[in-house]
């Protein structure tokens, strides 16, 4: 009964939030570490109830951006508004409405899940009387109600991730910053976390999700902000990013024997994207060429054992926009990624 009324209060809170301005507004954000530019003219917005993905290779500036948004770092230039509170002057007010779920598990291992929530609840400024219900709600949301009184050190990795999220959402934040919240967790925990994040967003929280998981971003995020070398290289929906990259759909074809090199001669609408023995990835510009393609494949390579049509994905766009070269974290910034 109490939980129901508590959930209703949360819903009301988020209804109010929904009427307010954007959860996050960032403009002209710059941050340098010595001679290295971590962020350069970064601009992004996250509206209430929106989940925005913050993507980028290591060292792109995601963690720096999140740290600035989380009031842990001061920017060199630019403006940051968190639920209307301008940083860094209103950092304390911003913290009242800010929830951070850091990439690393930030919990006390020798406290129970409930004790962690109670402690962080007090640190978040919640009233003592409100904390038990808030904690129970958060625990239910992340599916830890039954294990709430176990020590965190006895939790699995997935449970810790979920509790980590529960701490971040305990005080019903209007702005939720998630830094790879599902890194290294089992599929069940990942699913639970995704559900919880979606619930929060539906309730009106503005969520900025930093992740390397393209599938996760594709599933959860309404918009994507792609950072590379401290700059926003693309932003928009997944479709926008994919289409803006000009990536065509591809056909994966595998035959029983390697076809000869000239087996596609004369088919100008078909290009070989990659070929490896019996497997070839092809770009088919004209769908009408498909019957001819299949006939030639059967003739040149024997039986067609696999035929798959791949639509362009966010990962494709990501690689297209950021390249496939390895990015080593140079460690110049705090948790640079």
């Amino acid at each position: 009964m109490y939980r129901s009324s508590y959930a209703a209060r949360i819903a009301l809170e988020y209804v109010k939030i929904g009427r307010m301005e954007s959860a996050i507004i960032v403009a002209g954000l710059r941050k340098r570490y010595g001679t290295r530019t971590a962020l350069a003219d970064v601009a992004l917005t996250v509206d209430a109830g929106e989940i925005v993905g913050l993507l980028g290779p290591n060292g792109a500036g995601k963690s720096t951006a999140l740290s600035i948004l989380a009031t842990l770092l001061a920017p060199d230039e630019g403006s940051v508004r968190i639920a209307g509170h301008v940083l860094p002057g209103a950092a304390r007010a911003a913290r009242q409405v800010l929830g951070l779920v850091p990439q690393e598990i930030a919990l006390y291992p020798t406290l129970t899940g409930r004790e962690n929530l109670h402690f962080f609840g007090r640190m978040l400024g919640q009233r003592r009387a409100d904390i038990p219900a808030a904690a129970a709600h958060a625990l239910d949301l992340v599916g830890l109600g039954e294990r709430a009184d176990d020590l965190v050190e006895h939790y699995s990795g997935g449970m810790r991730r979920r509790l980590n999220l529960a701490v971040g959402i305990l005080h019903r934040p209007r702005v939720l910053l998630l830094d790879e919240p599902t890194a290294g967790v089992d599929p069940q925990s990942r699913e639970r976390i995704h559900v919880a994040i979606e619930q929060l967003a539906r309730a009106g929280a503005g969520v900025l999700l930093s992740t390397h998981d393209m599938e996760e971003a594709d599933r959860l995020c309404g918009r994507i902000v792609l950072l590379d070398t401290g700059r926003v290289v693309a932003s928009g929906t997944t479709s926008d990013l994919v289409s803006s990259c000009g990536i065509a759909a591809s056909l994966v074809l595998r035959t029983s024997r390697p076809p000869p090199a000239d087996w596609l001669d004369g088919l100008s609408s078909v290009r070989v994207l990659s070929a490896n023995g019996t497997r070839a990835t092809l770009a088919v510009d004209d769908p009408m060429a498909m019957p001819i393609l299949l006939a030639r494949a059967a003739r040149a390579g024997g039986d067609v054992v696999e035929l798959r049509f791949d639509r362009p994905t966010l990962a494709d766009a990501f690689f297209k926009l950021t390249g496939r070269a390895l990015r080593d974290d140079n460690g110049a910034g705090p948790g640079a990624s």
């Binding site: 989380a70 009031t71 690393e104 640190m123």
Partner: protein, 561 residues
């Protein structure tokens, strides 16, 4: 804010209580180290720790006399040593060579006799020079014991001498009294001689008179005896006469009776009868002679003095004149010399504070190692605690929360402060219960330096946390600092063992002031007044460390941004 502080404090205390290794480090580990150090370093203080660390002292009593017995009995009561009687010096030497003892004592044969005869003797210590501390302590003990025995012998001799002197004085007094008496007697002798002469004369006269009386009595008796004989003879001589006179008188009576009968018979003729012849009359003298008894007769015959006393002259008893008395001059006794044995120079040790002069090694070690572990606990609790929070990610998370980070920091320091005070109280109480340490006349006064050193240690932990960036840096940095502070500050050994310059350097460390206060309260048994100044200094150190630590921490936080 206070609610957040309480929550943070509760969290830190809860974290600590669930850290079993940490709890062991805070309590059990110090107790183990205190126990080991206490027993190991007991000899450093020249005192036993409840007798468990007594030196094994082989004693070869080759004397077997009174002195040897006294030494053995005395050593048997010493807590510092565990007496091990052995047969001879060879056996004692072998024990020292086997390193089973650092020193052995040999009481040479004849020691008792020699000392009794006034000759010097030497006790012998067989020593292992490596165990110099043991040797020094046992040597001091034996010296003390030897001195005690000498003092007792000295006291006995002095008592004997005093008794002898007293007897001599009494004898001298007796002699003097006798001499005085003789002198008085001599003085009185002429008078007494004169008196005796008078008495002799009187007695001579009396004797003469007596002799005269006796002579006269004898003469009288002889006279009377003679008279009696005469009387008897006279009476016997007079018997026929008296018989004849009687017969005459009876005849006369019979004649007269006849006459009267004749006349009666003659009747008328009686006239005719002629008168008979008159009978002669008995002369009066005869008649008187007849009537008188012999004595009277003798008296009549011999007159009044029937036997006149013989006249005689007894020889005079010559008087003897006393010979001239010699003049007796008694020699005067010389004054007894005031002979005394030289007094013994004794040593009485008195603690100026009234505390016992012997130190319980744990009185030093319990607070010393407690402070050491307290500082280590503070170092780990504050520095590593903050590093833990950083590693756990909670530090960054807390910084994103509305509660000021200072609250988190203060709560952590406060938790460590509370834990530190409890740790010290537990360790001191354990020391009191397990090792019998003194808590001083006012045990609660120990809370003052405890609070001071805990505060300083807590703040020092913050300094180390501000200086060191990693766990790997905290341990060497903090350990070096704490080990130095503990060692120089007198936590591990009495600070007085250190050279003067180091003692002056030690004033720069809070440990020095804490140990000074603990030593004053626990060992010197002083009151709370002794703790105020060290506590104030400790609090000042704590404030200084706190400000430095906060500055360092702030600088690091700013760098991190």
């Amino acid at each position: 804010m206070l609610a957040a502080l309480r929550a943070a404090l509760g969290k830190d205390l809860r974290l600590l209580l669930r850290d079993r290794v940490g709890l062991i480090f805070l309590t059990v580990a110090p107790l183990i180290v205190i126990t080991v150090a206490g027993f190991s370093l007991a000899s450093l203080y020249g005192a036993s720790a409840r007798g468990e660390t007594a030196y094994v002292l082989p004693v070869a009593d080759e004397d077997g006399g009174r002195v040897g017995r006294a030494i053995r009995e005395r050593l048997a009561t010493e807590e510092l040593v565990q007496l091990l009687p052995v047969a001879n010096r060879e056996e004692a030497s072998a024990i020292v060579r086997r390193k089973e003892a650092g020193v052995a004592l040999v009481i040479p044969a004849g020691t008792s006799h020699a000392l009794a005869a006034g000759r010097a003797m030497e006790l012998q210590l067989l020593t292992d020079p490596v165990k110099y501390l043991e040797v020094a302590n046992v040597r001091a003990l034996v010296q003390e014991l030897r001195h005690g025995i000498e003092r007792k012998a000295h006291e006995r001799a002095a008592r004997r001498l005093e008794r002898l002197r007293a007897r001599m004085l009494a004898t001298r007094a007796d002699f003097q009294r006798a001499a005085d008496s003789v002198a008085r007697e001599l003085d009185a002798l002429p008078a007494r001689l004169a008196e005796a002469q008078t008495e002799v004369a009187d007695r001579a006269r009396a004797a003469e008179a007596g002799a005269a009386r006796e002579v006269r009595a004898a003469v009288k008796e002889a006279s009377e005896l003679r008279l009696a004989v005469v009387s008897t003879r006279l009476a016997s001589e007079l018997v026929p006469l008296r018989r004849f006179v009687g017969e005459i008188e009876s005849t006369e009576a019979a004649f007269r009776s006849w006459m009267r009968s004749l006349r009666r018979q003659a009747g008328r003729y009686a006239d005719r009868i002629p008168p008979p012849p008159e009978l002669p009359t008995i002369p009066f003298a005869v008649s008187e002679l007849m009537q008188l008894d012999s004595d009277a007769l003798i008296a009549r015959l011999m007159g009044k003095d029937a036997m006149p006393a013989p006249r005689f002259t007894l020889p005079r008893i010559p008087t003897v004149s006393a010979p001239p008395l010699p003049t007796l001059t008694l020699p005067s006794l010389p004054e007894l010399p005031n002979v005394r044995l030289p007094g013994a120079l004794d040593l009485v040790e008195t603690s100026v504070t009234g505390a016992p002069t012997r130190l319980n090694t744990f009185d030093q070690n319990v607070p010393g190692f407690s402070v050491t572990f307290l500082l280590l606990g503070m170092l780990l609790g504050v520095s590593l605690g903050l590093l833990d929070e950083r590693d756990w990610g909670t530090l960054a998370r807390l910084r994103t929360m509305p509660t000021p980070f200072a609250v988190t920091l203060i709560a952590k320091l406060l938790a460590r402060f509370i834990v530190g005070v409890v740790q010290m109280v537990v360790l001191l109480a354990a020391g009191w219960m397990l090792f019998g340490i003194s808590l001083g006349p006012e045990p609660w006064a120990l809370l003052l330096p405890t609070a001071g050193i805990v505060f300083a240690g807590t703040a020092f932990g913050l300094v180390v946390a501000g200086l060191a960036n990693s766990r790997e840096a905290v341990l060497p940095l903090g350990s070096i600092a704490i080990v130095t502070m503990a060692a120089v500050g007198g936590c591990w050994w009495p600070i007085d063992l250190e050279p003067r310059w180091m003692q002056r350097v030690a004033l720069a460390f809070p440990t020095t002031w804490a140990m000074a206060a603990y030593n004053d309260l626990m060992i010197r048994r002083e009151g709370i007044a002794a703790a105020w100044r060290p506590t104030a200094v400790l609090l000042a150190y704590g404030l200084g460390y706190l400000m430095l630590g906060l500055a360092l921490f702030r600088r690091r936080a700013l760098r991190a941004r």
